[in-house]
Symmetry: C2
Subunit: 241 residues, 2 copies
Amino acid sequence: MIVRALGLLDAFGPDRPALTLSELARHAGVPLSTAHRLVADLARCGALERDDAGRYRIGLRLWELGALAPRGQALRETALPFLEDLSRITRENVQLAVREGAEVVFVERLAGSAAVPVHTRVGGRFALTATGVGLVLLAHSPPELQDEVLAGRIERFTPFTVTDPGRLRRMLADIRRDGHSVSDRQVTDDSLSVGAPLHDARGHVVAALSLVVRHGSVDARALAPLVRTTAAGISRALSAR
Amino acid sequence: MIVRALGLLDAFGPDRPALTLSELARHAGVPLSTAHRLVADLARCGALERDDAGRYRIGLRLWELGALAPRGQALRETALPFLEDLSRITRENVQLAVREGAEVVFVERLAGSAAVPVHTRVGGRFALTATGVGLVLLAHSPPELQDEVLAGRIERFTPFTVTDPGRLRRMLADIRRDGHSVSDRQVTDDSLSVGAPLHDARGHVVAALSLVVRHGSVDARALAPLVRTTAAGISRALSAR
């Protein structure tokens, strides 16, 4: 029942913020009567809200519960002052992300006032193999996951996306050695991102930070110390928490 | 079952981010066997995560779903650039909140670099009767809710908290007339907050914004136009969405 209810909620997405009962039933592959019962329960708890047009939306109660997720809101709150400093000083895009399985989940994104357009959205997911944050998280993930990702289909976003497993494996080794990643036009063909890992008190990589700039505007080597020192500052704050 | 599962999740709070199975069962008032089954289902969907010590935490999946709540993350994303401008220019606390029943829920809080300490937390709740945002939201809530709140127990936080129902009712009328609220030392005895409503495309008040400053440092009348113009800017952006 719980699995079904959460399956029903999976129908919502950034491009589908409001759904009718029959759209919900269809997406979840359950009969209308079942959907009706699940939706009534979810609405009673505040997990769903009904708008004036009779469509359902994710309710504030879920947002409140989600705000308690240590890897979501709590991480974001600790990191935010550092992200704001980096965004204000560079006026570029700053991103914070964690790994969930074989994907990146973006936890925060601050758009600089003069920054290059990026695809990411808070709460959105992306492949591990292309972005600056994704490469950092993949480089520090269990070896079995790295093998699985490199043996699977590696999505191409631009002519510059690295999709060769051998070359990606060498990139991951470089990232572990250098302490930062460089994703050069691998996601959009006008952007470059430099990522660095965030550690918890025991030295585990729990998240990654990146700065995304217009390709050709800045030397990536000049950005790496900036991203790494900011990441180190956040890691200190996470350890002190 | 769904109601029970969400009841179990209610055990988590900002001061209780990680709970054992027996703590969860005790808080939800269900047998250990029931809690075990619910927790297994919730963990399977990613709604709960288990840490190294075997305790449970709110999972990233709930945070992702919550990020789709129009009154949570979507409102926050639209408002954030305006909140950042106000925070950067004033260096004071900026708060964004919505009403859920008879309470305020804080959706965003930016702490200014030289700002007075405040009690609020993103995802946290507070009484409608004391804060700048709460007074705005109460002033624009249905008359029945106003009657209910004013007839109930009105919590006192400082010697300056207005708890007299007649005086509060006049304050609410002033807020509707003036387009802004002033909460003068009503929450902590060294802070003053000025709030203003955010409207959707149909003119409904959907949220409130406030600027919280140290009492005595600035004239509240000087802040009102600043808060109101920022609120009007966000309302325009919400209507255009």
